[in-house]
Symmetry: C2
Subunit: 404 residues, 2 copies
Amino acid sequence: MIKIAVLGYGNIGSGVVEVLKRNKDHVTKRAGQEIEVKYVLDLRDFPGDPMEDKVVHSIEPIINDPEVKIVVETMGGTTPAYEYVKAALEAGKSVSTSNKELVAKYGAELLELAKKNNINFLFEASVGGGIPIIRPLNQSVTSDEIYEITGILNGTTNYMLTKMEQQAMSFDAVLKEAQEKGYAERHPEADVEGYDACRKIAILSSLAFGCQVDFNDIYTEGITKISDTDMEYAKKLNYSIKLFGTSRKVDGKVYAMVSPVMVGKDHPLSNVNDVMNGILVRGDVIGDLMFYGAGAGKLPTASAVVADVIDEVKHLDTNITIQWSKNKLELGDFKDSKKQFFVRVSGDIENRRKEMEDLFGAYNIVTIGKDDEFGFITNCLSEKEFEEKANSCVGIQSRIRLAK
Amino acid sequence: MIKIAVLGYGNIGSGVVEVLKRNKDHVTKRAGQEIEVKYVLDLRDFPGDPMEDKVVHSIEPIINDPEVKIVVETMGGTTPAYEYVKAALEAGKSVSTSNKELVAKYGAELLELAKKNNINFLFEASVGGGIPIIRPLNQSVTSDEIYEITGILNGTTNYMLTKMEQQAMSFDAVLKEAQEKGYAERHPEADVEGYDACRKIAILSSLAFGCQVDFNDIYTEGITKISDTDMEYAKKLNYSIKLFGTSRKVDGKVYAMVSPVMVGKDHPLSNVNDVMNGILVRGDVIGDLMFYGAGAGKLPTASAVVADVIDEVKHLDTNITIQWSKNKLELGDFKDSKKQFFVRVSGDIENRRKEMEDLFGAYNIVTIGKDDEFGFITNCLSEKEFEEKANSCVGIQSRIRLAK
């Protein structure tokens, strides 16, 4: 029997306990031995809870107990998660975490520490919730040079954009509904400003390219400026609007960003709706792969954490190689990255058509029945070129990048 | 440096050699050491080919060469592949194969042999070409009880059905085009009769449920009876028609089949078009997962074979546990499995409406402008119930099952 400790008895932590209990026979068979939760670390007490007697309020008893071989971290944030996880690894305990902030910031360091101690630091649940993506990137797509990884990585914003598209609701109305349903938090910035997706694409990029991609280096734009008018244009042009985290290698340089994009119906991620997540991996040999599933939620996320625990039980004294070095990957300058843009501009479509064609190579020029504005798609331009042209031109109301 | 042998220098075998050469630095880094092809086994010679000097015409030099640690099998079929693979495993060499016939028939036995010898038998490429599905099932979705696995597992038939849907072409015309493009073989039975998909769903079911699922036990129906008229009805009802391999656990019994199905636009596999494959995994905790990618083709398939070789290099003296016992899983009786059906029946829609409502609980009753027939969807019925009702009723022209 293997004894484990769970740090944080919130949504995910209690989900881990639930999955271990619910699928006990199955998990035991898969792991080769029984897994028992010996401690639950939380500041709170849980009177009446089956875990009541296992609750501790400090990390010391866990670190000092040689019987605990695996520590599950589901607290979120980096303080004190980083300190606790580091102490666990230093004490020779493997760690499984769902904590994207921790992994994005300290992943390379914690992997190095695990390797040094011949144990494991696994984090399948930190990106895409229950979707197997970390392990496939690390163990399956190994013969390919990955040149792009793109994901719909945040369920809250995907739910909101899906609602806006399907029910013609405004951003504010959808946010309110999402908050009422518990899909969005009262302070929704981490989701709607793209910060959550940014950490996740940083983790995926680090794994795809094997070096440290700092999330602070990634251009990040949220969905707060997406309006119901934008959705009307998207519909007219047969696009959806999704929040993508993307990194792409072009001529040896990696360009990364988080931003809303217009997605054509034939794009592998166009059908990823509601709270679901999808991750597209493009390799030089394998072509396009797409992984789809629940990107959040108590049980799907806990499922991935427990799968990591099972893997750690099977590799108690063997480090599973994960290629993510501390060497920082210098991203290409975002201003140089090229794409097409959808643009909304004020004025009369016939009066300004030629100007837009000349300036932006505008095509698919459309109106949605408003007589004071119209929209179009530009040629492929660098961010810098687009910005210069847009600044030279009166009445640009908004722009949304096109997915490649 | 690790020396390997490639059995069969056809499409996939030469792809493996190409991937190892093309991505040599990357593969070396991932594997931790260089991988060199020492032998290529084929009945033919390849004068002028870079591998020319490595070609051998019998298995003996490979089996007897202690330097060869890994054998790649890409010959297809079970004779002599089974004999060769068994000999390689008995000689302590790990094997990576793309051969679905071999794996479906002998997978459990060969896994047992590999385990006994503390080496590995891996077969990621045998299902879904380049799509990582075997490893995720085995290592990622481990905390879940899987209750359904369903796939679009054959690229040829998916290409044909997509063309029939999008271009209103007949089965015969599409088959001819697919043969001209090299997507379908001159003798297309293995694809169009569903035999290929049957072996693949047998493999996936064996892994999902941990026991031997014999492909001979799986009810298998191909796409040869799907007509352009069926496609018209599907379009009218907002369905696509896809060839599914499915196995589903209901009340403790596993029911499996390969058959064309009508798929609603909100089904995770509805958007898997052309030669692409998609595999849906449903777990009790994780919910729906979907894996999408190129299900065939030289390089994508070779990518998966090489990924297995890399894993075998990293586990030279460690058996990677794969749960697939020789114990036979007795499938539930297909006749008892329940689903809805789309039915075409002759006669006038208004004359026969009530009869169909009474007999089948018919709804979504539609015509496509032919005055001598109409179509409808039935209630949920067992195969047996449906058959009895259909036999009791004149003029049933065809039926297509609905995807769940």
